[in-house]
Symmetry: D2
Subunit: 326 residues, 4 copies
């Protein structure tokens, strides 16, 4: 199946991925992971919630940790260009027969919540409280020195369909893996903000969140994080890496939070603002697509992911598809 | 004077800066500088011209070196979103009473050339020949490992006016220096592509090109370049740095090509895709705005720049303004 | 068994490891690996041999590649303090009932060859031709930017005995792994030159050379090498890493040359010149001793090594010892 | 004057530089500099003194800060090989007509104090309390991540004489600057421990301590320190750098403590354990000897240094020598 054509003038203007909620079963332990170890900054704190931002972000938060009975991912948040775009989003979603629920959220004003056709909970907003810059307060930098949220990666039971859906919203594919036996897209990386991706889809039991990624300055910061995790009781939370991805050419590390939510530490992908930027196709049999240096990913990386709050897995589709890449 | 409001829906859609022509008096020597030493890749070569691209670029070239009697800068090139934008550009320029000259250029199709109201030669195009990716051909990386063109910086005799003009075209100011005594903008950094800038203006004898910047992976590559230049006969071409800018927070080095054209090597600024991203104001008396670490720039850095081909300097305005920052 | 006491005033003064010969079955291919890819510099070349040095070395060579029918390691070379030490070495070896054969070698003058009690071929010399420094000829740096030879690592069928032998020669143990079940030393790292080691022994089918290590400036150079190997046909020659060793705290990568000889790329261990520097003991069951970050080494790393020229394996001992670490 | 011959079998065995006392006028402020900002670790603390070590050191301290009325440097400390060496040192010093005063110092046992012929206070010892390793406690790393003390640099009114004196003690010259007009040695770098230097002498008003240097992992840590100092009130304490020295090829930064004592942050020099390692000669007129990249040092760097406690400056010699390098 050929890659579907990206809509150049989408129905509403999504600027970028923006934030995510993780429901965690032990907020104190999650705080030790995200704040004390990774180095995210607390911007607001209540009894049951922590709002965090990375060092270069001016928006109020990129991640919200919520104490919960069950470890789950909440809505994936996207920032729209302006207020009229929010209204256009509502119209379009309703036209597609999708949910479009208005809510008010702290620090964000009105928020439009929906689910994509595969069950992934999304929310759109336009203005989040802006905070003073801290990127030159170097005394605050800790851990991996996280600079900004970079992307979401999801397991999808039908990557072809997911790509077609998000193409309509103006997400452009930068790289993808094709299963040459079936002609289907195995995995795809799609962007709005001008990097390799804001969102990616990988074939597997979906909808589930595979990981959220944070951008860091250089590979040296990832080495520093590995040294720190290895000597502060977090060594078992290192899942995969460090390495360089074939796809995206980024330097990466995958770690798991205390509830198993997967975080990617990521740096140095490339600029993709040109609308005629050609997607790069990889073959599913090429091991260098995952790690340019040839090292395989562990089984857990292919199988495990975060369930979305109140989303049903597409188990029927699962039966006909392997969830482990060859 | 308050910073003028950026037009959110500009008359035509400029994606990003794209390319520049440097006229050089000794093409072989320029090649030694840009290709053998810096590490740019040759994509086309004629008797009198060299076309070059950086390692992550898919467009045919980001710099064109032209053998010439006189060292000058040619047109500053910008890529537009699509073909209709090119026509909208023509209409808008004519409305403003500015030149709008169509030409055909190799590798680029139809090109619309103009001058801004201050004499800076600009050209707009939509499609440049796309080349196969080489960013994962690591055997080709040399010198500073240049990844992509990042921005142009110009001397301007009236920065307030330049900012107002480019704001109309959708360039958003990310940081600026204000002269608190006069209330005027001393310097401004403005972007389209989502980084700190595509273009910047500094108070001085204009119009002149202060520098063109290339993005590199990490500060270590800049250190490698300094070691290489220092031991291969280019030590006198190191002008300023390395250091970290207060403005932009980028790590930088300024070097001069054999004709004196200034090149900045640049890395690690931040993402600015939000339209509500607040500009950061710096005071002209704050020495850390230029170099966060406090080291002053040399006099040449404030005084010297490349003349634009057939552009007249605004000498009258010069009399009332110092060209050296305090 | 307690760690044997190091002799503080050894019978002759070994300064440091110095050089090794690798016999290779395809000299052109070995050259592609060591020179074109790794970045070692050729200092002498004949029909059947290549002499190489690393960037900071003033001695004529640290590695000699010899075209041969069979892939093997030759003598491990050590530099002595002065000429009288060479004569003292001869006396001592003869006292121990070991070989002591004088030979003349190109670039090295008189050389004393022997075998340790376990069959490892050693050679001692005092003066090697000194070459002009090239460490500031940055245009020559390539590949991983190898700075100097750092250490040899050998499989030994009786590490306790090997440690006792080399202790008599003034090698001091800096770190070691103990098998708590047997009380035996599983592996030991021993130095003369003031770093973590000049030589190391690992339990296994011996005598075999496990690897020769080269020191490089920073972990970034190892990442550069991985990118280069991965995209120039050498991806299958990456065996283990990158990672940080628990033992030595060094950042490492293991690669295999075209004949399977193993090379370690190594940086950032610590200074050990104090004679009262306490050895660090690791337990065989601690997986972080090998890789601080927890990643296991592949089976090949435990099993495969270079045979020494004309050395007999101690197969009888092998039967009672596993060659794979638990 | 030719470089004097180093004594290969010195009268007693100095292993390495070890520690220094700085007398400071505000201990709390000095603590903010050395501990909170630079990242040295406190190993002992009294009302008027702080003992500090760097991350890889096992000896009790490398720097002792003493509250005092006057900012001065105390004894430069050197570790000897064993106890008999301490007694040999006493004999030799007395033979030379120099002081040899035994004292007991906390954490160090018996200590032999003297002054070199030019008034520099030295102390020798053999055993300092050994502390458990902390180099793999990565949560403790802060600031510039100092790994170990590296060298002392002194102003000397007669560098030729100083070099001759320390040569007798087995210090070997690795690099030196010659004033070709006078034939005199302008500056010299001399080592015992196998790096470029344990001590260095620069022509100037002496005896004064020019700086004490600390070794750090990579140039990136120096960049991190600059960012930190620049944004935590220490920007005026940055004196020179970052840069690469021509001499030593090390990457460096010079900073000043609250009393003006100069600290060098230093990394990546080369190994010099061979006794036949040839010294590199630089000419006084070569600006790249100081900074390979060509940037000049500021005037303060040539003129200012720490007085030694109770040492008289050699003012008579000063009259005939410039203290500023050309």
């Amino acid at each position: 199946m050929p890659l579907p054509q990206t809509v150049l003038y989408p129905p509403f203007n999504i600027l970028r991925l923006s934030h995510v909620e993780y429901r965690v079963t032990d907020l104190a332990r999650a705080r030790a992971f995200y704040v004390d170890m990774l180095g995210l900054q607390i911007t607001h704190e209540t009894d049951g919630q922590l709002y965090l931002r990375a060092m270069e972000e001016r928006g109020h938060h990129c991640i919200c940790l919520t104490q919960s009975d069950r470890a789950e991912a909440g809505h994936l948040g996207f920032k729209l260009f302006d207020e009229p775009d929010l209204d256009k989003a509502e119209s379009w979603l309703l036209e597609q027969g999708l949910e479009a629920v208005w809510t008010e959220k702290p620090f964000m004003g009105r928020v439009l919540q929906t689910r994509d056709p595969y069950g992934v909970p999304l929310e759109f907003y336009c203005k989040m409280d802006r905070l003073p810059p801290i990127h030159q307060q170097y005394a605050l930098y800790r851990g991996v020195k996280p600079l900004r949220i970079d992307h979401f990666n999801m397991f999808s039971a039908d990557v072809d369909a997911a790509v077609a859906f998000y193409n309509q919203l103006g997400f452009r594919t930068t790289e993808y893996t094709e299963d040459q036996k079936t002609g289907k897209i195995w995995a795809a990386w799609m962007h709005r903000k001008g990097g390799v991706h804001d969102i990616a889809f990988t074939n597997g039991l979906g909808p589930r969140l595979h990981h959220t990624a944070f951008w860091v300055p250089t590979p040296m910061n990832i080495i520093d994080l590995l040294d720190l995790m290895s000597t502060t009781g977090w060594v078992d939370h290192i899942e995969r890496g460090p390495g360089r991805h074939g796809i995206s050419n980024a330097f990466f590390l995958y770690i798991r939070d205390p509830d198993g939510h997967r975080i990617e530490i990521y740096c140095s992908d490339y600029q993709t603002v040109d609308p005629d930027h050609e997607p790069i196709k990889w073959d599913l049999t090429d091991p260098q697509r995952q790690t340019l240096w040839g090292a395989p990913a562990p089984r857990s990386w292919f199988e495990e992911g975060s369930l979305f709050n109140r989303a049903e897995l597409k188990e029927s589709q699962l039966k006909s598809q392997p969830i482990i890449a060859p």
